[in-house]
Amino acid sequence: MAHSSRRDCPELPDFSLLKRLARDQLIYLLEQLPGKKDLFIEADLMSPLDRIANVSILKQHEVDKLYKVEYKPVVSTSDQLCFLIRPRIQTVKWICDVANADKAVGRFRRYKIIFTPQKFFACEAVLEEQGIFGEVTTDEWSFYLLPLDEDVISLELPEFFRDNFLAGDQRWVRTAGSALHLLHSLYGPFSKVYGIGRCSKMAYESWREQVEQGEQRARQAEIGKVFLIDRDVDFVTPLCSQVVYEGLVDDIFRIKCGCVEFGPDVTSSDKSLKVMLNSQDKVFNEIRNEHFSNVFGFLSQKARNLQSAYDKRRGMDIKQMKSFVSEELKGLKQEHRLLSLHIGASESIMKKKTKQDFQELLKTEHSLLEGFEIRESISFLEEHISRQVSMMESLRLLCLLSITENGLLPKDYRSLKAQYLQSYGADHLLTFANLKQLGLLVEQPTGETLTVMESKVGKLVNDKTAGKLSDAFSSLAKKSNFRALSRKLNLVPKSDEEYDLRVPRDMAYIFSGAYVPLSCKLVEQVLERDGWTGLEEVTRLLNGHEFAVTGSGGADSKSDAQRIILVMFLGGCTFSEISALRFLGRERGYKFIVVTTAITNSSRLIESLLGNRA
């Protein structure tokens, strides 16, 4: 890493164990269906599966052909069909159709469904309803956690966000609890668990319950503390444009399961190339957390170093040359290849992002965060829509505006929405309904409406419940309180000072020094205070649901493991947040492990809330 880290940084636990466990279980499950079989894999499980078991391993266990689940009639000739799917009703229904179609033509096959990470009763209910419950065997592949990198683990459940926060469907909470349980049993016991958010609290409780049910073994802890946070605690951070290298790459090229596909414009050939982005890639590892403005400088320095390493061979004798070729050359070549890729990517990013539009966009975002020149920002937004720049970007800015301003003025709310509907279709009415429900895009309450409601209800019930009710109302209104939070936690550094992005002062560097991500700031503060004491006002503004619990395994507070902190984002986290936490870790001598239900960014977040039939 470009920054020097503190020397006493603890070692990270080895998470490849998780992969091995998942692989062994999968093999066991495949062997439960002996003989040749065709395997149907849910599309979004393809990449995660590839990280666990490649095709040759599958073939070794008598998987004949591999298919992607495409909701079409199957063409397989095999007598045994195995389906590896997420527990989704839609997919199960499709399998029922397949089985019923076979039945209709009198074809006999064996069907096995492997649900991952767990099965839901609703899925089995569908099997029953469609009358094939008896003909299908079901199993669970408890593949909860996919290590994307040495310090990032993903549940690969993007639907967690929409299901949990929008639909109020808590089915994944237990999954999160189980994932935590798995980590606890392999790397625990945790000495302290902090958290904020309703879902976090439920996941925590689900985990506790599983701990109590299972047997407990005393072991050396490898992870000391845990911090759970709901995505809806902080919507501002994921809505901002990312300017740290890894985040930018994700925003532009979309990193999927730790892997990115660079198109011809990056590879400067006519082929696209899939590249794994993790700490194994030495070049990437050094620039991933850098502000984009530093990346070019760094890459060119790297290129010079590489050149001089190549140049070493001049003036070598035969023997030296021999050892150079056998030992160094391969490494250099590899580095060379990676370097040219990242330079290509950076150029492509430059083309897209250094244009004036982007600069203005950033400026608008920054003034929204600071709360200055709001009218100008609104006009910018209007123009943004008028010029039809981008459907997603406009929506993102609208949300950012609403959250930072605690809702839009009724006049703006209506006119901007009308503009948007005219531009991108009236079906976005549903998108707006979704955004409103989540509190991402709301009208500023006119004040009277709420109080009128409250007093009306208040007359009906006694005082105590009325108090509770008004609490309920205020949470109903889903105020974001961003401005107050920003002041309390000092999220927006004073803009009059020059911010040197090459030598970051604080986590704000990930947003060009304009904003410290709220989520990461909370982590910092809670770790510093060892709890929520002194943050009462903050938690009130965040609608509560905070907790801090001392666990059983607080044996040795001095041990290295106590400085290994697992931060679990329920509903997804961004690469920028990961970079910020890495920075915080270097500063304070911690090592952070990020566990997330999925990697997200502004477009993924908004896309998951679209209500139109795009």
Binding site: A167, Q422, L429, A433
Partner: protein
Amino acid sequence: MSFITANWNPLGEAFYRKSELYEMSWNLKDGLRDCLVSAAPYGGPIALLREPHRRSPSSRPQLEIYSASGVSIASFPWKSGPVVHLGWTVNDELLCVQEDGSVLIYDLFGSFKRHFSMGQEVVQSQVLEAKVFHSPYGTGVAIVTGSSRFILATNIDDLKLRRLPEVPGLQGKPSCWVVLNQDRQTKVLLSNGPELYILDNTSCTVVCPPGLGPQAGSIVHMSVSFSYKYLALFTDCGHLWTGPSHLQDKMSEVDTKKSTPPKEMVWCRRPKSQQPSVVLMWERLLMVVGVCQDTIQFPIEDQCVLVGELDGVRIISSTNQELLQEVPLVCQDIFKIASMAPGALLLEAHREYEKSSQKADEYLREIKEQSMLGEAVRQCVDAAGHEYDTNTQKSLMRAASFGKCFLTDFSPDPFVSTCRELRVLNAVREISVGLPLTHTQFKQLTLQVLIDRLVYRQFYPLAIEMCRYLKIPDYQGVSRVLKHWASCKVQQKDLSDEAIARAVCVKVGDSPGVSYSHIAAKAYECGRTELAIKLLDFEARSGEQVPLLLKMKRSQLALSKAVESGDTDLVYTVVTYLKNEMNRGDFFMTLRNQPVALSLYRQFCKLQETETLKDLYNQDDDHQELANYYVTASYREKRLENRLSLLQSAVDEYNKAKNEFSAKATEEEMRLLRFQRKLDDEKGAGLLELSLQATMEALLALGLHKQAEQLYKDFRVPDKRYWWLKLKSLAEKEEWEELEKFSKSKKSPIGYLAFVEVCMKSNNKYEAKKYVSKVTPEQRVKAHLAVSDLEGAVDAAIERKNESEMGAVLSRCSASDRLLIDRLNRARPSTAKK
């Protein structure tokens, strides 16, 4: 102590001993005469059926169950049909095989569990003889019927009846038969007159034991060893043949000089036996016949029953119970008269030490000289395990402990575990418990099973003491015992619900691994619903309560518990249950009070039953969601009329929800759809499904300016957006004249820089330049730069005297633009001065 060898009898090179286990606590009036008796191995219970064949209806035979020590456990009159055979399963359940082929199963306490039949044909032909046998598959039953057929059930818990092939020439029952377990197959070996047959699933084969000449006579009694490995055959001339049960070999043949067949014949051996033997019992004689041809004879006075064990034979009479076994080698070594084995010397040394005699040292020295002290300790510990008398155990263990003191690196584990196990064994051997297990049997049975057996016999306090003493983890130990205790407690009919609930709660508390819901389920099974509900209240994990609550039809309570548990699967289970159980209205009302359940059900409906979703919203008067529902539904409609009518419903609902904005937006959408349809019909424009903006764009692209204009006015599209749209569209189509006309139609709401930039995007510098002059002064520098007119930009910048603009221009100048750079530089100080 010195008489420890008093009851030893030599047999070949080994010794056999017969030691008393119990004086039986029962008081049998007529002894064991005329009784059907069955005693289970591993010190299991004894079942007794008096005079089973007396069939006068006035006097029913009495079925009695005793512990191995003769303590009565149950006794009841036998009301069912005549019993042919009694036997015990591996789980200590009593099997009563009746003449008509039905088998009745009772538990240890004499309560009826269930019954099964050995087949319809047996009802007619009757059971002549039956045997209960144990195999790795469980407990089996074999019968021979009146029509001379054998029927087998290998595992009574997974009943599969097998009718074995016919035996040629067999009339009635054979003279003797046994069940064999070979190569994972169950077979029957039987003797009929001079012939010996093996019956398996498919065939009946004549066999001949090797070395048994025809002069030996025909076989009248046979016995197979505990492990099914060895066979003993007794002929009518009094010859006893022994050999492995596969009949390929012979071990020995002994002439017992008895002409009558024995009443009972049982193998007596132990693991690693040196001198296995067969025990034969006649009316007044017990004969131990060694494979070495040696015999021991014991007179017996009373009617006895022999029970074959893993390591010996138990002899039960009406007054006492004895264990006949080969003396284990290690005990022989220690106690044999004048033995010089290290263990014997150590025992002696310790004895002298207790007497404070210096001879102790001499003995010790002798052992140490041979460096056998470790071996000596080991011998003492092992021997202690095999001894039944507690005093002998103690002196051996003390000797071992004494010897251990002189050893430095001797692992204490075997010593400690033997001490513990002996305490446990002594406790269960107590007459009140009555489990006369030897150490070898205990090892084979395992501790888990022993605890189970204690629990089954309801010795809960002892079982708990044992678990605590042996430090068994709560899950497998104390908690398990408590669970069983509680399940038993709730069945006590004489106690009130209140009292039981309290008693259970006090004892069980919150021991880990004890599930109150499990106990409650038991209570419900016994018909005590109220008690079950009381018990469920103690259950900490709400999820566990749900299934039982559903079973008890407390569905509302079940739903709220399920929601509390946070397990959505559980919630869903209850929801599905309720859906089938209640009428729709009640169901919806119930859901309404449980938002979690409701949202879960909604999710399901969205994918499975969209119509239900509508009903749900309707029920709740949720007009907003209902409207959204109609909007969603409209996308799925292909026909425009249907779509419009759905949208109209949406408008109505939005209005009811007082959401004027959405109502208006939807109305506009309808208007747009109608417009698009009209144009599609007239011009084939393909506009349907496009947004307003996209429609206008398409119209402009098609050159339908008038229609685009109409939309712009009708829908009150903001000027700015329309201008941008038109500007881009004209530039794209390169209609420059049209564009110029448009620019002059009125003052541009988006300024003229946009014109410059859009023209440049189409690479038309010429057109772009036309608009530069119209640009506002603030944007003029930018405009000049956009058309790469540096000179103009410099002029504009200097005119505006704006530092940052000059900088911007400067950064665009290349070295060749010397002149311009100079001009700018000259102008800069002048602005700076201001």
